[in-house]
Symmetry: C2
Subunit: 366 residues, 2 copies
């Protein structure tokens, strides 16, 4: 099985690393020789040349706006190869392909979307384990043949990813809602901090950091991701825009008319937010689970967190989630540990016996 | 020093616990005897009664809409006591007080805002360490006397908090921007998940979880927090609304007119978001620090994370931040560790020698 990967960015190079590790022959091709050379040096495969063998599978991992042309070109150039692409929006690419390619050739193509991005980009951030345990969406189309669908499913499984099948339009709507809208909302919020006084930002807490973490993403990469999915993104953002307009009207009603009923619009957004957040699937892909949360004060010294978790392991408790939170200017951190509810009491008692200070405990939906 | 705390919710009960722990005499007063009794049982103080001694300091920790009336009442009832309140917005309370109370009495009052909320509420979530290392804003006003300002500053220091002085209006603008707007934006975003198909939500990643974490907050509590700060919240949300309108127009320009320049509005929001996010102060209250990020694959079994962190401690590296991320349906987690850049290489090499699998490493602004 010879696999050619076109594009040596984060996804292309990560695919190359993972496939090489499992013994596949990987050919690397990139308009930038520098980028392909870097991916080769990292161990993602060998540069494709004029003498390279014909590939069995071609994976197009180039910027979204270039994908349809490259897929069409590869289908024509290698009449026996199967072709896929890993762009993060699928419907525009498919529509564009139907203009360029006949049904017979199209049967050798199916697009996929491994949901495995990160805030960093480029081959240097590549990671053979990038796809492990992540959803890997396969988008069949009316002309897609069984061989290509079977092969991309095998690819997903080989990568340790979770294959899911969705129509291209449904996929694009879904990523607009769960990925593209959150990214843009995080950026819009962070953009409003640009003109804040430094004194205002001294009051920032963990909540602001969480909500704006995505705002650190690569602006150029994300502009082209959004450009490839304008319709669905515009639709979900317009819905959010309507809700925001209504919320601001409620605030005006309270502020200008002293009408306390305006607050019901705030309460409504908050309550709907509670319900929406509760629908996000929990850890381990299962139904939402309630975990107990235990907060332990940890001195900010090497080894202290290790000591805490060794103690936790000795008590026999498995930690489901862990976050370390530093208080500003304080030499003490808070380790926020989520555990199964039945383990909360034994853990709290066990840790207290061993001299740990427990700051609080409670329950949290994750 | 006798301190009376009016209101036995999260803040009142946490103050009672902290002050009792440091040997102060705390009297608890709440319109609900049940709530005050619960706080007493938790060790937050003794119920105030008709025979209680006169307090030296009264801390009003009731819902925002009740604060001004209660402060005025307490100033009149105890003519030698100093009075403060811990509501999360200050200007409306002060304006309301100037209608009820003369300048001489007002000199015994100054409002404060300990920035120490959490997603849970009520006495049961109380925590004597809630204020440790958190900003504690003191809002002087034209009539506030030195004794009350000195006493609330001592209170902040005693609690291990970081006292900051700001005018009430500046404070309210700041919390609108760094706390109230992020809360509402997170709720608005999560509200848009209510009508998503379950299949769409299967594609949710860590980014969506981060951005919607705040959306789990208590709807009733937050409605009254927002109601007490409508003007500043409405102003910052309107600015965000304008940016969102512009972004949607850019998407429309691309979608309907095929005008690729519309993407520049997306790029502009992303770039401004990068800049805004970079302004959020880093850990330890210092200037923003770059940390190296190391991702280690951790089997999902008791003790594994402890073993990882014990190994890390042995290598002599101090972890600045740690997040554990589970992949859906996979028995393996990713521990994302942030360390000082100079420690990244020794840590990576040390862990690999000890048999750990490092998924990727890079740099991140925190």
């Amino acid at each position: 099985m010879i696999i050619r990967i076109i594009g040596s960015g984060l996804l292309g190079a990560s695919l190359g690393l993972a496939l090489t590790r499992m013994g596949r022959t990987v050919q690397l091709d990139d308009a930038s020789e520098l980028a392909a050379g870097l991916a080769q040096d990292l161990g993602a495969g060998k540069l494709a040349g004029p003498d390279s063998a014909e590939p069995d599978l071609i994976i197009v991992a180039t910027p979204p706006e270039t994908v349809a042309d490259i897929v069409a070109e590869q289908l024509a150039r290698f009449p026996h190869a199967l072709v896929t692409d890993v762009a993060s929006a699928k419907a525009q690419i498919y529509r564009s392909l139907t203009d360029k390619v006949g049904a017979a050739e199209l049967s050798r193509y199916a697009g996929v979307h491994p949901m495995a991005g990160r805030e960093r980009s480029g081959a240097l951030a590549a990671d053979a384990d990038l796809f492990t345990g992540r959803p890997f969406v396969i988008c069949p189309h009316p002309h897609s043949g069984k061989p290509v669908l079977r092969l991309v499913r095998e690819l997903a499984t080989d990568l340790g990813a979770l294959p899911l099948t969705m129509a291209a339009d449904a996929h694009d709507d879904a990523v607009a809602r769960v990925s593209h809208m959150p990214q843009l909302v995080s950026s819009l919020l962070a953009a409003r901090l640009e003109e804040a006084d430094a004194g205002e930002l001294d009051l920032a807490g963990q909540g602001l950091r969480d909500v704006t973490r995505l705002a650190g993403s690569d602006a150029r990469l994300w502009s082209s991701i959004i450009a490839a999915n304008t319709g669905p993104v515009r639709r979900v953002l317009s819905e959010l825009h309507d809700d925001l307009t209504d919320l601001i009207a409620g605030l005006g009603q309270m502020q200008e008319e002293g009408d306390y009923r305006g607050i019901s619009r705030v309460a409504s957004v908050m309550t709907r937010g509670n319900a929406g957040a509760a629908r996000i699937p929990g850890k381990h892909g299962g139904a939402q689970i309630r975990y107990a949360q235990i907060i332990v004060l940890v001195p900010d010294r090497p080894g202290e967190l290790g000591r805490l978790l060794t103690d936790t392991g000795r008590i026999g408790v498995n930690i489901e989630d862990l976050t370390l939170e530093h208080s500003p200017s304080q030499p003490v951190g808070r380790a926020i540990m989520s555990v199964a509810p039945a383990q909360a009491l034994p853990l709290t008692e066990g840790l207290e016996k061993l001299g740990w200070r427990i700051a609080a405990n409670g329950e949290q939906l994750v």
